[in-house]
Subunit: 325 residues, 2 copies
Amino acid sequence: MKAPIKVTITGAAGHIGYALAFRVASGEMFGPDQPVILRLLEIPQALSSLNGVGMELEDCALPLLHDIVLTDDQAIGFRETDYAILIGAKPRSKGMERKDLITENAKIFSSQGRAINDHASGDVRVLVVGNPANTNALIAAANAPDLDRTQFTAMTRLDHNRALGQLANKTNNLVADISRMTIWGNHSMTQYPDIGNCLVKGTPALELVSRDWAIDHFIPRIQRRGAEIIEARGLSSAASAADAVVDHVHNWALGTPEGDWVSMSVASDGSYGIPEGVVFSYPVICKDGSYEIVQGLDLDEFSQSRLKASEKELLEERAIIADLL
Amino acid sequence: MKAPIKVTITGAAGHIGYALAFRVASGEMFGPDQPVILRLLEIPQALSSLNGVGMELEDCALPLLHDIVLTDDQAIGFRETDYAILIGAKPRSKGMERKDLITENAKIFSSQGRAINDHASGDVRVLVVGNPANTNALIAAANAPDLDRTQFTAMTRLDHNRALGQLANKTNNLVADISRMTIWGNHSMTQYPDIGNCLVKGTPALELVSRDWAIDHFIPRIQRRGAEIIEARGLSSAASAADAVVDHVHNWALGTPEGDWVSMSVASDGSYGIPEGVVFSYPVICKDGSYEIVQGLDLDEFSQSRLKASEKELLEERAIIADLL
């Protein structure tokens, strides 16, 4: 039998963490023959609830779940971990300014970056889900001097999957018929969901839908989808976010399908003119546990302006937490 | 590609339904090459929340999910469905007597039994999760005259999985090393979790743990596990219940592993002296979409008394709703 993969989830008693833990433990992230050990990390005041999550995981009798560690100690939570999924974050409270939200979370993610540096596997892969995810990933990476920036990513897969769902609906196709969707930029309102390279059963999407539909309906809907869900459910997206985590890590670990790519926020290497280091969502191809940014895609003036807008926002966020980098 | 399987989930916007829908849609119930159509049924006041669940399912871009139907109309919810998972039920409110709980739910499940009879596939398989699950299954079956009683089951798989987890912990083994666990009786405090036939890596469990441990610790812990979870989480079991639904239906549809069995509450055929018709949890072997009650197990005096206690409770519940049968 394969050696178990260790997966750390922070904020594991929260809505997304709760939806995620059981799917990782049931084998959806790494496949039906790969045992896992879950290391679930929470803040002290959530430990009773986390204990309940641990009991429920035990109650599932999942054959691939070889051990569960419950803790509020980062040194234990990240010990020798192979994958760190950073979900727990400070949410925006009423009247809180965006700048305060960013600095409050900067403290959390700089501390976690250091703990990952000191305790995780040297080969650890990190996915930041807690918002502002891209800048949080930048901070965590900057505080992990022994690790490579390519080991830190942020999640735009939920936006990517949402975009697939909307285009499938609009063209009356199955999501499996669509390839080469791209989310560019920041996981925020400035993100740019781009169907310019999408193929629907091999046909360019822009031969099936109009550019006006994309600009007037598709892009704003993806950008505002989170708010739409909150309005309907009275709660923010949880199960779909957890599903996107499974997809992001699954593809990173096991590769993307031939001829297709996925969207991941990764440290820019200067591709498409984005300043080096900024954590930016790109189309990427994954293979053997690594990713490569897809090169050479054409970006028209409209697209370029959208990338610039998201870049500007990310540089502003970076300026706010510059002292932590 | 295979034709999609239609799965109806009632109470789909509740905690268990929310945890379940995404796992069915991702392929965990019927396997990675089997498309599904979800028919999600809710009460009118939960339709906005259900709409949010539908949006989140769409946002997952799950390749096996071919359609989603959201409705508060039973005729639509159960139309031509292959599997009906009945989760929605009236919970016990403060000061409510057990008798009132049973009669309130009897109304819901008699109505659903009729709707399933009239609208579902003739080959439909029904799993009742909403409590009192065994008696609700009895009522639903009694109101579906065109269907066979064997098409209606109630869930004791969560108890079964909990029992596997506890025995694995106690003997320091993996759950995959344990076979032939049995839950007998009613999904209630009178259930009898029985390790008398369990094998742990081929060794009888009762050679590894004492009878006193089983009686003083194991049995009461399984019986009270639901309350233990509520105390820790402040919420009742949801993800673990959803996991048990996946397991129950997966085994019913695709079979139990060679040499092992699972626990399902099914209409008694008189096996082990239980009156015919009562929905009672038995060890069952599943094959080709059918189940058979495991015969010929030895029951000592203690075990027999436990089965009798659960039988007595089920007969009392049946007497309360006799006018609906």
